[in-house]
Symmetry: C4
Subunit: 187 residues, 4 copies
Amino acid sequence: MPDHPTPHGATAISKARLEFLYDGIFAIAMTILVLELKVPDLQDHRSIGELLGALRHQGSTFFSYGLSLTMLGMFWYRHNRQYGHFRFITRSMLVLQLLQLGFAAFFPFCAALWGRYPTNNLSTLLYIGCIMAHQWCSLAQWAAANRAGAIEGDSVDATYKAIRKRNLVGSIILTAFFAYYLVQVLG
Amino acid sequence: MPDHPTPHGATAISKARLEFLYDGIFAIAMTILVLELKVPDLQDHRSIGELLGALRHQGSTFFSYGLSLTMLGMFWYRHNRQYGHFRFITRSMLVLQLLQLGFAAFFPFCAALWGRYPTNNLSTLLYIGCIMAHQWCSLAQWAAANRAGAIEGDSVDATYKAIRKRNLVGSIILTAFFAYYLVQVLG
Amino acid sequence: MPDHPTPHGATAISKARLEFLYDGIFAIAMTILVLELKVPDLQDHRSIGELLGALRHQGSTFFSYGLSLTMLGMFWYRHNRQYGHFRFITRSMLVLQLLQLGFAAFFPFCAALWGRYPTNNLSTLLYIGCIMAHQWCSLAQWAAANRAGAIEGDSVDATYKAIRKRNLVGSIILTAFFAYYLVQVLG
Amino acid sequence: MPDHPTPHGATAISKARLEFLYDGIFAIAMTILVLELKVPDLQDHRSIGELLGALRHQGSTFFSYGLSLTMLGMFWYRHNRQYGHFRFITRSMLVLQLLQLGFAAFFPFCAALWGRYPTNNLSTLLYIGCIMAHQWCSLAQWAAANRAGAIEGDSVDATYKAIRKRNLVGSIILTAFFAYYLVQVLG
């Protein structure tokens, strides 16, 4: 294995700014999810029953909202842990990161679509597909970081293998769900 | 009481990034509140009276906008004070923080709903409930920080007790209001 | 004049986080201004003339968009300069800053309203009023910083007087415009 | 060539805050692009064929979305590289940067317009024009930085010439496309 010096100076990609872009996109995605929840039009402004009925009618949108917010929170937490392990960011890690951010930015649309049509297999497929793609990007970034020697710590190999195993299990479960719904949509 | 060493290295949750996510979500929530204020459709583009009437018609939305902006500003100030006391962030504090951010992200919907239907007890209940839940998360985070030994300073116990008292009073008042409106809605 | 020690530790308001909140709200306000520009509905999708006509119809909205973006950019630049002079942030400076952020968050609504009804004196009054209020908050923050001894530098008094003069001129001009339109609206 | 001392203290423009504003505007622009993708209205909520047809109908909007996200990601990467070379920010660099941010904030509108009318030469002209203007601002900022002595490194002249060459090629290609569509629109 070759030596892996840390890139420095103007050639380096700023890890702080990349984390910042990630945090910014997540903060916005988590907040604009709420734009899908619509204030209903009521005939009787004081009627509790009418408002309750109108909100219940959007029930699946509220469920999708809650689940999607939780997913984004979990993604953010994992990213926080992941970037704590990286010493620097290479170009291929950056490309994977921007690709992953693309899926994160696309997620509010999938959440809105699935919230409106939860029983439609195609919207379920898109929702799971977006999460799955995000997850594979994360795994690929780990692999790219390992190849470039960007993982910090004394026992890099053991750390990396434990992380890869845990991430692979999640990725495979998501891919299985994705495949199931793909068969439903295609069949 | 056991020793409380500060977590370090890759195991630690980045306090700076968590503050950043919080600030980002608050900046966005404070700014997208404005999207609920609608530019009215006027027949006579130059008529001051017609525009004034149309804006007055949205009066309660403007009131809810102003109050909600003030609430978010106050929450932000308190969070600033709170995180000034924390030496590090544990996993349970993080979970409570993400839960709290969920309520903050949900707040613009509650503000829009209440702005449209200020005399509807259910929309009032949701508005107060969202603030109350945010407040309880804050209190729970203090308790979690205290248990984990994450509070900074010489006289931790006295500081914590003074803070807990002040926060409890606010939480109990909010819960009393919530209970009152819950009875109205259920009755 | 009393001694002005820098506040420190948990009692201090984080200047970095306040700048962050400011920058976040400005970034969002500058970006959501664009949501007021609507993609027109065309009969003939390929017709250049029809699209040009539809965009020209929104001409005043485009003008308001450009002007408002410029205003926000100028405000941001001035704030950058202002905070470069502050050593710390007191509670009253924070309150003024949050009030100012409230006007900044409200600005996209004023810009949208004025873009739609540029010949309506009330919408012009609101647009100028929002800028004027933002400007007065800035001046008040300078005064509060001066009183608290938060201005950095060797020749504080000379610096402050020069700044106050420049800011006062701007504030007075804006207030004169505001008064003119107020008379139009009331008369 | 005169000496170029680094500006310091309160006179300096905070490079960190300017990067922050840039990152914030980009995070938001990348995320609100998704608001142009609309959840379709379906008659049969479970019908895969109907949903697929409705999404295909928005095909060009999805294409514009993907391309625009990629463009913004590329711009961000280049800006990251660019600011890694700058030692400080002068006033003229700031003005160019704010102008560039104006084009970035305007980009979601161009993307939405072009996604809806991809065969309309005027919407294509606006889309390319916005990218071209952003690119020229970048080149002008390099030139301003070079003149002010703000470029970091040992071999500033060689670095600057290589960068200028690469940027010029991109700018000229974009301008050629812009000119082609301008002729189509005017003709």
